[in-house]
Amino acid sequence: MPCEPDDVLIQRTQVGDLTAFGTIVDRYRTRIYSLAYRMLGDRDRADDVAQEVFIRVYKALGTYRMCGTFSTWLFAIAVNVCTDALRQKPVATTPIDSSEGGPAHESGGTDPHSAYQRSEMQERIQNAMGRLPDQQRLIIALIHLQGHSYEEVAQIMRQPIGTVKSHAHRARARLKTLLAPCMEEDTR
Protein backbone atom coordinates (compact mmCIF):
# COMPACT_ATOMS: atom_id res chain seq x y z
CA MET A 1 0.00 0.00 0.00
CA PRO A 2 2.29 2.78 -1.17
CA CYS A 3 -0.10 5.72 -1.00
CA GLU A 4 -3.68 5.12 -0.02
CA PRO A 5 -6.02 8.10 -0.43
CA ASP A 6 -7.15 9.80 2.80
CA ASP A 7 -10.73 8.71 2.35
CA VAL A 8 -9.79 5.03 2.15
CA LEU A 9 -7.74 5.34 5.33
CA ILE A 10 -10.63 7.16 7.01
CA GLN A 11 -13.07 4.41 6.11
CA ARG A 12 -10.68 1.81 7.48
CA THR A 13 -10.28 3.82 10.68
CA GLN A 14 -14.05 4.09 10.99
CA VAL A 15 -14.31 0.30 11.11
CA GLY A 16 -11.69 0.11 13.83
CA ASP A 17 -8.36 -0.13 11.96
CA LEU A 18 -5.94 1.85 14.11
CA THR A 19 -3.05 1.18 11.74
CA ALA A 20 -4.90 3.17 9.08
CA PHE A 21 -5.31 6.02 11.54
CA GLY A 22 -1.58 5.83 12.28
CA THR A 23 -0.92 6.34 8.57
CA ILE A 24 -3.17 9.42 8.59
CA VAL A 25 -1.31 10.80 11.60
CA ASP A 26 2.05 10.16 9.94
CA ARG A 27 0.85 11.85 6.78
CA TYR A 28 -0.23 15.08 8.46
CA ARG A 29 1.68 15.32 11.69
CA THR A 30 4.48 17.58 10.42
CA ARG A 31 2.04 20.01 8.87
CA ILE A 32 -0.22 20.15 11.93
CA TYR A 33 2.71 20.37 14.31
CA SER A 34 4.34 23.13 12.25
CA LEU A 35 1.10 25.09 12.20
CA ALA A 36 0.74 24.70 15.98
CA TYR A 37 4.36 25.72 16.50
CA ARG A 38 4.02 28.82 14.34
CA MET A 39 0.81 29.73 16.16
CA LEU A 40 2.06 29.11 19.71
CA GLY A 41 5.80 29.71 19.45
CA ASP A 42 6.50 26.83 21.84
CA ARG A 43 7.46 23.27 21.00
CA ASP A 44 5.94 21.60 24.05
CA ARG A 45 2.64 23.37 23.61
CA ALA A 46 2.74 22.59 19.89
CA ASP A 47 3.22 18.91 20.73
CA ASP A 48 0.21 18.92 23.09
CA VAL A 49 -1.94 20.83 20.63
CA ALA A 50 -1.02 18.65 17.66
CA GLN A 51 -1.81 15.50 19.65
CA GLU A 52 -5.09 17.00 20.77
CA VAL A 53 -5.94 17.74 17.13
CA PHE A 54 -5.54 14.10 16.12
CA ILE A 55 -7.40 12.82 19.17
CA ARG A 56 -10.30 15.15 18.36
CA VAL A 57 -10.18 14.01 14.75
CA TYR A 58 -10.38 10.40 15.86
CA LYS A 59 -13.30 11.06 18.20
CA ALA A 60 -15.15 13.00 15.50
CA LEU A 61 -14.58 10.37 12.80
CA GLY A 62 -17.78 8.59 13.82
CA THR A 63 -19.78 11.54 12.55
CA TYR A 64 -17.44 12.53 9.73
CA ARG A 65 -19.10 12.37 6.33
CA MET A 66 -16.95 12.84 3.30
CA CYS A 67 -18.08 16.15 1.95
CA GLY A 68 -15.21 18.39 0.96
CA THR A 69 -11.70 17.19 1.50
CA PHE A 70 -10.40 15.53 4.62
CA SER A 71 -7.53 18.00 4.88
CA THR A 72 -9.92 20.99 5.03
CA TRP A 73 -11.79 19.28 7.86
CA LEU A 74 -8.54 18.38 9.62
CA PHE A 75 -7.21 21.93 9.41
CA ALA A 76 -10.52 23.33 10.64
CA ILE A 77 -10.12 21.18 13.76
CA ALA A 78 -6.48 22.28 14.07
CA VAL A 79 -7.57 25.92 13.88
CA ASN A 80 -10.11 25.33 16.67
CA VAL A 81 -7.61 23.60 18.94
CA CYS A 82 -4.97 26.32 18.32
CA THR A 83 -7.54 29.03 19.02
CA ASP A 84 -8.56 27.32 22.28
CA ALA A 85 -4.92 27.04 23.32
CA LEU A 86 -4.26 30.70 22.52
CA ARG A 87 -7.23 31.70 24.63
CA GLN A 88 -5.59 30.00 27.60
CA LYS A 89 -2.15 31.42 26.95
CA PRO A 90 -0.96 33.75 24.18
CA VAL A 91 1.80 33.04 21.70
CA ALA A 92 5.32 32.94 23.10
CA THR A 93 7.64 35.55 21.62
CA THR A 94 11.13 36.55 22.61
CA PRO A 95 12.02 40.25 22.91
CA ILE A 96 13.24 41.79 19.68
CA ASP A 97 17.04 41.62 19.34
CA SER A 98 17.27 38.71 21.75
CA SER A 99 19.46 36.17 20.04
CA GLU A 100 19.71 33.55 22.78
CA GLY A 101 18.54 30.00 22.16
CA GLY A 102 17.61 29.73 18.52
CA PRO A 103 15.02 27.33 17.18
CA ALA A 104 15.61 23.84 18.44
CA HIS A 105 15.95 22.18 15.06
CA GLU A 106 17.45 23.39 11.91
CA SER A 107 18.04 21.25 8.90
CA GLY A 108 20.67 21.52 6.19
CA GLY A 109 23.83 23.58 6.00
CA THR A 110 27.20 22.30 7.05
CA ASP A 111 28.85 25.65 7.68
CA PRO A 112 28.09 26.38 11.34
CA HIS A 113 28.30 30.14 10.87
CA SER A 114 25.77 30.34 8.06
CA ALA A 115 23.62 27.77 9.87
CA TYR A 116 23.60 30.07 12.88
CA GLN A 117 22.65 33.05 10.71
CA ARG A 118 19.89 31.07 9.12
CA SER A 119 18.57 29.96 12.46
CA GLU A 120 18.70 33.53 13.77
CA MET A 121 16.77 34.70 10.75
CA GLN A 122 14.19 31.98 11.32
CA GLU A 123 13.71 33.18 14.86
CA ARG A 124 13.27 36.77 13.78
CA ILE A 125 10.64 35.81 11.25
CA GLN A 126 8.86 33.66 13.82
CA ASN A 127 8.95 36.58 16.24
CA ALA A 128 7.50 38.95 13.67
CA MET A 129 4.71 36.42 13.09
CA GLY A 130 4.15 36.35 16.84
CA ARG A 131 3.45 40.06 16.82
CA LEU A 132 0.46 39.65 14.53
CA PRO A 133 -3.05 39.22 15.93
CA ASP A 134 -3.91 35.50 16.16
CA GLN A 135 -6.35 35.55 13.24
CA GLN A 136 -3.84 37.24 10.96
CA ARG A 137 -1.02 34.92 12.00
CA LEU A 138 -3.27 31.93 11.38
CA ILE A 139 -4.18 33.11 7.90
CA ILE A 140 -0.55 33.86 7.01
CA ALA A 141 0.51 30.42 8.27
CA LEU A 142 -2.23 28.66 6.34
CA ILE A 143 -1.46 30.51 3.11
CA HIS A 144 2.31 30.93 3.12
CA LEU A 145 3.45 27.96 5.22
CA GLN A 146 0.80 25.39 4.46
CA GLY A 147 0.16 26.44 0.89
CA HIS A 148 -3.62 26.83 1.14
CA SER A 149 -5.49 29.11 -1.24
CA TYR A 150 -7.72 31.93 -0.04
CA GLU A 151 -10.75 29.76 -0.84
CA GLU A 152 -9.43 26.90 1.26
CA VAL A 153 -8.60 29.20 4.17
CA ALA A 154 -12.10 30.67 3.98
CA GLN A 155 -13.54 27.13 4.23
CA ILE A 156 -11.18 26.10 7.01
CA MET A 157 -11.94 29.20 9.07
CA ARG A 158 -15.59 29.44 8.04
CA GLN A 159 -15.16 33.08 7.14
CA PRO A 160 -16.05 35.02 4.00
CA ILE A 161 -13.20 35.07 1.52
CA GLY A 162 -13.18 38.88 1.54
CA THR A 163 -12.51 38.85 5.30
CA VAL A 164 -9.67 36.38 4.84
CA LYS A 165 -8.11 38.53 2.14
CA SER A 166 -8.28 41.75 4.11
CA HIS A 167 -6.74 39.99 7.14
CA ALA A 168 -3.97 38.69 4.88
CA HIS A 169 -3.32 42.10 3.37
CA ARG A 170 -3.08 43.76 6.77
CA ALA A 171 -0.84 40.99 8.06
CA ARG A 172 1.56 41.29 5.12
CA ALA A 173 1.73 45.06 5.48
CA ARG A 174 2.58 44.65 9.17
CA LEU A 175 5.14 41.95 8.48
CA LYS A 176 6.73 44.11 5.82
CA THR A 177 7.36 46.76 8.47
CA LEU A 178 8.49 44.27 11.10
CA LEU A 179 10.83 42.48 8.73
CA ALA A 180 12.24 45.56 7.00
CA PRO A 181 15.53 45.31 8.96
CA CYS A 182 15.96 41.69 7.81
CA MET A 183 15.41 42.72 4.20
CA GLU A 184 18.03 45.46 4.46
CA GLU A 185 20.48 42.87 5.83
CA ASP A 186 19.53 40.55 3.04
CA THR A 187 20.27 43.07 0.32
CA ARG A 188 23.57 44.17 1.85
Partner: protein
Protein backbone atom coordinates in the same frame (compact mmCIF):
# COMPACT_ATOMS: atom_id res chain seq x y z
CA UNK B 1 -1.20 51.95 -2.59
CA UNK B 2 0.04 48.85 -0.77
CA UNK B 3 -3.50 47.48 -0.77
CA UNK B 4 -3.74 47.98 -4.53
CA UNK B 5 -0.38 46.26 -4.95
CA UNK B 6 -1.56 43.32 -2.83
CA UNK B 7 -4.72 42.94 -4.86
CA UNK B 8 -2.56 43.09 -7.94
CA UNK B 9 -0.42 40.32 -6.44
CA UNK B 10 -3.53 38.31 -5.55
CA UNK B 11 -4.55 38.47 -9.23
CA UNK B 12 -7.90 39.89 -8.17
CA UNK B 13 -7.99 42.89 -10.47
CA UNK B 14 -9.69 43.11 -13.85
CA UNK B 15 -7.43 43.21 -16.88
CA UNK B 16 -7.62 46.98 -17.52
CA UNK B 17 -6.80 47.75 -13.86
CA UNK B 18 -3.81 45.38 -14.04
CA UNK B 19 -2.47 47.14 -17.11
CA UNK B 20 -2.97 50.48 -15.36
CA UNK B 21 -1.05 49.33 -12.28
CA UNK B 22 1.74 47.84 -14.34
CA UNK B 23 2.13 51.13 -16.18
CA UNK B 24 2.18 53.00 -12.86
CA UNK B 25 4.76 50.62 -11.38
CA UNK B 26 7.09 51.21 -14.28
CA UNK B 27 6.93 54.95 -13.68
CA UNK B 28 6.72 55.23 -9.89
CA UNK B 29 9.74 54.19 -7.88
CA UNK B 30 7.92 54.27 -4.53
CA UNK B 31 5.35 51.79 -5.68
CA UNK B 32 7.80 49.46 -7.36
CA UNK B 33 9.90 49.43 -4.17
CA UNK B 34 6.70 48.71 -2.25
CA UNK B 35 5.95 45.74 -4.48
CA UNK B 36 9.51 44.46 -4.21
CA UNK B 37 9.36 44.68 -0.43
CA UNK B 38 6.03 42.90 -0.33
CA UNK B 39 7.49 40.07 -2.39
CA UNK B 40 10.58 39.89 -0.16
CA UNK B 41 8.33 39.77 2.91
CA UNK B 42 6.39 36.85 1.51
CA UNK B 43 9.66 35.14 0.52
CA UNK B 44 10.96 35.54 4.08
CA UNK B 45 7.80 34.07 5.58
CA UNK B 46 7.89 31.19 3.15
CA UNK B 47 11.49 30.51 4.12
CA UNK B 48 10.27 29.37 7.55
CA UNK B 49 10.98 25.66 7.90
CA UNK B 50 8.50 22.99 8.71
CA UNK B 51 9.22 21.67 12.18
CA UNK B 52 9.47 17.97 12.91
CA UNK B 53 7.38 16.31 15.58
CA UNK B 54 9.10 14.34 18.32
CA UNK B 55 9.74 10.79 17.00
CA UNK B 56 7.24 9.18 19.38
CA UNK B 57 4.43 11.49 18.25
CA UNK B 58 2.31 8.98 16.31
CA UNK B 59 2.77 6.30 18.97
CA UNK B 60 1.60 8.76 21.63
CA UNK B 61 -1.47 9.69 19.61
CA UNK B 62 -2.39 6.06 19.01
CA UNK B 63 -1.88 5.26 22.68
CA UNK B 64 -4.18 8.11 23.70
CA UNK B 65 -6.76 7.06 21.13
CA UNK B 66 -6.62 3.45 22.29
CA UNK B 67 -7.32 4.41 25.90
CA UNK B 68 -10.12 6.73 24.74
CA UNK B 69 -11.66 3.84 22.94
CA UNK B 70 -11.49 1.43 25.87
CA UNK B 71 -13.16 4.06 28.02
CA UNK B 72 -15.86 4.77 25.50
CA UNK B 73 -16.78 1.18 24.69
CA UNK B 74 -17.22 -0.74 27.97
CA UNK B 75 -19.62 -3.14 26.21
CA UNK B 76 -22.89 -1.63 25.01
CA UNK B 77 -24.56 -1.61 28.42
CA UNK B 78 -28.28 -2.41 28.55
CA UNK B 79 -30.53 0.07 30.39
CA UNK B 80 -31.79 -1.41 33.66
CA UNK B 81 -35.49 -1.97 32.74
CA UNK B 82 -34.32 -4.06 29.78
CA UNK B 83 -32.06 -6.00 32.13
CA UNK B 84 -34.92 -6.63 34.52
CA UNK B 85 -37.22 -7.79 31.72
CA UNK B 86 -34.50 -10.11 30.44
CA UNK B 87 -34.01 -11.48 33.95
CA UNK B 88 -37.72 -12.12 34.47
CA UNK B 89 -38.01 -13.62 31.00
CA UNK B 90 -35.12 -15.92 31.85
CA UNK B 91 -36.81 -16.93 35.09
CA UNK B 92 -40.13 -17.61 33.39
CA UNK B 93 -38.32 -19.66 30.77
CA UNK B 94 -36.66 -21.80 33.41
CA UNK B 95 -39.94 -22.17 35.28
CA UNK B 96 -41.58 -23.42 32.08
CA UNK B 97 -38.75 -25.87 31.56
CA UNK B 98 -39.11 -27.22 35.08
CA UNK B 99 -42.89 -27.47 34.80
CA UNK B 100 -42.59 -29.35 31.50
CA UNK B 101 -40.08 -31.64 33.10
CA UNK B 102 -42.46 -32.36 35.95
CA UNK B 103 -45.34 -33.13 33.62
CA UNK B 104 -43.47 -35.81 31.70
CA UNK B 105 -44.86 -39.32 32.14
CA UNK B 106 -42.97 -40.86 35.02
CA UNK B 107 -43.30 -44.43 33.75
CA UNK B 108 -40.88 -43.55 30.99
CA UNK B 109 -38.45 -42.39 33.61
CA UNK B 110 -38.82 -45.62 35.54
CA UNK B 111 -37.72 -47.48 32.41
CA UNK B 112 -34.93 -44.97 31.79
CA UNK B 113 -33.59 -45.33 35.28
CA UNK B 114 -33.59 -49.12 35.04
CA UNK B 115 -32.02 -49.02 31.62
CA UNK B 116 -29.34 -46.63 32.76
CA UNK B 117 -29.02 -48.73 35.91
CA UNK B 118 -28.27 -46.05 38.50
CA UNK B 119 -30.54 -46.20 41.51
CA UNK B 120 -33.39 -43.71 41.85
CA UNK B 121 -31.39 -41.88 44.50
CA UNK B 122 -28.42 -41.53 42.21
CA UNK B 123 -30.72 -40.24 39.46
CA UNK B 124 -32.13 -37.72 41.90
CA UNK B 125 -28.70 -36.45 42.74
CA UNK B 126 -27.73 -36.31 39.09
CA UNK B 127 -30.92 -34.42 38.32
CA UNK B 128 -30.30 -31.91 41.06
CA UNK B 129 -26.79 -31.32 39.80
CA UNK B 130 -27.98 -30.81 36.25
CA UNK B 131 -30.79 -28.50 37.33
CA UNK B 132 -28.33 -26.43 39.25
CA UNK B 133 -25.97 -26.40 36.27
CA UNK B 134 -28.89 -25.17 34.15
CA UNK B 135 -29.57 -22.43 36.69
CA UNK B 136 -25.96 -21.33 36.59
CA UNK B 137 -26.06 -21.36 32.79
CA UNK B 138 -29.23 -19.28 32.71
CA UNK B 139 -27.74 -16.90 35.21
CA UNK B 140 -24.68 -16.49 33.01
CA UNK B 141 -26.87 -15.88 29.96
CA UNK B 142 -28.87 -13.22 31.79
CA UNK B 143 -25.66 -11.70 33.06
CA UNK B 144 -24.28 -11.47 29.55
CA UNK B 145 -27.42 -9.79 28.27
CA UNK B 146 -28.29 -7.30 30.95
CA UNK B 147 -28.08 -6.32 34.58
CA UNK B 148 -26.46 -9.27 36.32
CA UNK B 149 -27.69 -9.00 39.91
CA UNK B 150 -31.27 -8.14 39.05
CA UNK B 151 -31.58 -10.91 36.46
CA UNK B 152 -30.16 -13.56 38.76
CA UNK B 153 -32.44 -12.48 41.58
CA UNK B 154 -35.49 -12.75 39.35
CA UNK B 155 -34.45 -16.24 38.21
CA UNK B 156 -33.96 -17.36 41.78
CA UNK B 157 -37.28 -15.98 43.05
CA UNK B 158 -39.37 -17.59 40.33
CA UNK B 159 -37.57 -20.91 40.62
CA UNK B 160 -37.99 -20.92 44.37
CA UNK B 161 -41.73 -20.34 43.92
CA UNK B 162 -41.96 -23.16 41.38
CA UNK B 163 -40.08 -25.52 43.62
CA UNK B 164 -42.29 -24.69 46.60
CA UNK B 165 -45.55 -25.14 44.69
CA UNK B 166 -44.52 -28.42 43.10
CA UNK B 167 -43.92 -29.63 46.66
CA UNK B 168 -43.20 -33.28 47.13
CA UNK B 169 -43.06 -34.03 43.37
CA UNK B 170 -39.90 -32.05 43.44
CA UNK B 171 -37.52 -34.94 43.80
CA UNK B 172 -39.21 -36.89 41.01
CA UNK B 173 -39.22 -33.75 38.91
CA UNK B 174 -35.55 -33.25 39.42
CA UNK B 175 -34.87 -36.82 38.54
CA UNK B 176 -36.98 -36.57 35.38
CA UNK B 177 -35.37 -33.31 34.48
CA UNK B 178 -32.00 -34.84 34.98
CA UNK B 179 -32.84 -37.71 32.67
CA UNK B 180 -34.22 -35.36 30.03
CA UNK B 181 -31.09 -33.29 30.25
CA UNK B 182 -28.96 -36.39 29.88
Amino acid sequence: MLDGVQRYEDGDLPQERRVEIERHLSECENCSVELAQLRSTVALIESLHEVDTPPEFTANVLEAVRSERSIEQPAPSVPWPVGAILGIAGAVLSAVIVTLALSIDLSAVAEWTTVLKPSAVAATHLGRLLLEALLVGLGALVQAMGKPALGLLAVDIVLLAVLLTTGRHLLKGRAVFGMVAV
